[in-house]
């Protein structure tokens, strides 16, 4: 019996970096992208921060850490949003600039492109989260890092979730083109109500709780609230979120690559 050959595609870090660089070059020249990355997170934090502070002033005891919990949730949601948004909008950037055919006429492989989109999301997430953390500290003298070193795995878990939502949206865009581009902005929010971002899962109706338990994001937000409000760190939530997040991310990337192949049947030109 001859030994089985396992096909492992050769991945070029040079080509991945080339795609990352294409978006890095664009960043300082795009007012839209600067606004998305800096202006909106700050506006969210200002509005929600003062609202929750006012709510806190109306009560006592049980609402002690509500402001910090809501603002941390807000910054955490930026991680999901940023990772999701970067994947789908960077795909749209290629369609808007009629560059998709040009790019895939090079040796670039779809999987390298996927890895590049994830890298860009990772880099920009740092900027958005940094801005968010800084704004919370400056405006409310609150330190989101009070959650401690567990901030790191939480952020990583949320990034996996953001990427999976992003590739889900990008898959649809790859099939439908720019006429369904609104998916890039709306897909993330479809998951927000079920992810228990600002409220505990128990306030949701039963059917919605079932959906929520199937999402990796829910465990991060629930875990974060438990750590901040009760001082209890829930390890099992981290594991559940990690397992679900990785499964969904792998499935979403496979779906995206399948949609790229499907789109190739009609040709990338028609998407531009």
């Amino acid at each position: 019996m001859s030994p089985k050959t396992i096909y492992v595609p050769k991945i070029s870090s040079t080509r991945i970096w080339a795609v990352v660089l294409r978006h890095v070059y664009l960043f300082p020249k795009s007012f839209d992208r600067l606004t998305d990355m800096i202006y909106w997170p700050i506006m969210d934090i200002v509005l929600w921060g003062f609202t929750t502070r006012w709510v806190q002033q109306q009560g006592s005891g049980t609402v002690q850490n509500v402001v910090l919990a809501i603002l941390t949730a807000m910054v955490f949601w930026q991680v999901v949003w940023r990772a999701n948004y970067e994947v789908s909008v960077n795909l749209l950037e290629e369609l808007w600039s009629a560059n998709l055919v040009n790019m895939f006429a090079t040796p670039l492989k779809p999987i390298e492109w996927v890895l590049a989109l994830m890298t860009i999301g990772f880099l920009k997430m740092f900027v958005s989260v940094g801005v968010g953390v800084g704004a919370v500290w400056l405006l409310y003298s609150l330190n989101i890092f009070s959650i401690g070193w567990m901030m790191i795995p939480y952020v990583a878990l949320l990034m996996f979730s953001g990427w999976f939502i992003g590739f889900l949206g990008a898959s649809l865009i790859m099939l439908g083109g720019t006429r369904i581009q609104t998916i890039a902005w709306t897909m993330g929010f479809l998951f927000a109500p079920f992810s228990a971002v600002y409220y505990p899962i128990t306030v949701l109706p039963n059917w919605a709780q079932t959906v929520a338990r199937a999402l990796p994001t829910t465990y991060v937000f629930e875990g974060m609230r438990s750590a901040l409000l009760n001082g209890v760190f829930l390890w099992e939530y981290v594991v559940k979120s990690l397992v679900l997040g990785l499964i969904y991310l792998v499935l979403a990337i496979c779906l995206f690559l399948w949609c790229c192949e499907k789109s190739r049947e009609k040709g990338y030109v028609r998407l531009q």
């Binding site: 080339a18 795609v19 560059n99 192949e261 190739r264």
Partner: protein
């Protein structure tokens, strides 16, 4: 596959499914030889762009085989595309990036080193006269400049094959001339093989070693530009009339010749072998003309003839 064949296409077919399926390319087979410039001609919708898109893998064929350098394209895509360049007037660059940034990105995608990117960028941008604009965004460049940057991108990678989709469309005549000279130089110096589409027949006749004519997704001719032009037997005889326009028209009608009249000029389409007979007939009818020009059959005439025949068949 003979040794000097760098691209071999066999039975390439593209059918778009739907309520009424549409066959864009129908069992097309051809070879591209090393150092050869092959023109791909045909009216709009003939299948030229479809062919090029499939040769780049941005469109999936329904069936058929594409072999570059003896290797199957579908299983060696990335390795092959490192040696195949593409330029098209209809494809763009990210317009907020500068010329330099765009070429830097594409140079990296083709695996060029920092030194190669720097030197080749300078060489090609200077050749195409856009070096001074290198730090300007693509959105500020003219259509002609964009086309030249596209060509710089294509040849920066020192490809073995270049797929050029109407590379001179939108260029001023002097720049188009430079591009043709550049293409010829790349062929001569680096033995680059090229697939070249254009609507400019004179250009195709000048640049291409061989021409493949596509009509409704099928190859209807595959020969040298001269041989294709020779297959058209009709010449055009233009006369600037002195006296006898009416008698010339009567002569054309009697002999079933196609003619067009514009002020003092008349143009008659006549079989190449019957030009002497025409001139003799006009002399007998005492027709006087002050200028005469005879257009030999050209590739454009061949193009028009094939297009006309296809229209009549429909």
């Amino acid at each position: 596959m003979s040794n000097d064949v760098v691209l071999s296409v066999r039975n390439l077919t593209k059918i778009y499914p739907g309520k009424v399926s549409f066959t864009a390319l129908d069992h097309v087979s051809f070879d591209l030889h090393e150092g050869e410039i092959l023109g791909l001609l045909g009216p709009n919708g003939a299948g030229k762009t479809t062919t090029i898109q499939m040769l780049l893998s941005t469109l999936k064929p329904t069936s058929g085989e594409i072999v570059y350098f003896g290797k199957n394209f579908f299983t060696n895509r990335s390795e092959i595309l490192a040696q195949v360049a593409f330029a098209s007037t209809y494809i763009k660059f990210p317009d907020r990036l500068t010329i330099r940034e765009n070429l830097d990105v594409y140079g990296r995608l083709y695996g060029l080193t920092a030194n190669e990117r720097k030197h080749r960028m300078e060489k090609f941008l200077k050749f195409f006269g856009v070096w001074d604009q290198r730090d300007k965004p693509m959105s500020t460049t003219s259509a002609g400049q964009t086309t030249r940057v596209m060509l710089a991108k294509a040849f920066m990678a020192h490809p073995r094959i270049a797929l050029l989709d109407e590379p001179t469309a939108s260029l001023d005549p002097d720049i188009a001339h430079e591009v043709r000279a550049f293409v010829a130089e790349q062929q001569k110096e680096y033995n680059v093989s090229m697939l070249f589409t254009s609507h400019n027949m004179a250009e195709v006749a000048e640049v291409c070693d061989r021409v493949m004519f596509l009509q409704n997704g099928k190859i209807v001719a595959n020969d040298t530009p001269d041989n294709l032009a020779r297959s058209v037997s009709v010449s055009k005889v233009q006369l600037m009339m002195g006296d006898g326009m009416k008698r010339t028209i009567e002569y054309a009608q009697q002999h079933n010749l196609v003619y067009t009249v514009q002020e003092r000029f008349i143009e008659l389409e006549v079989d190449e072998h019957k030009i002497a007979e025409l001139l003799s007939g006009l002399a007998k009818a005492k027709v006087e003309y002050t200028q005469i020009s005879i257009d030999k059959p050209t590739l454009e005439m061949y193009f028009l003839q094939v297009a006309k025949e296809a229209k009549e068949r429909k």
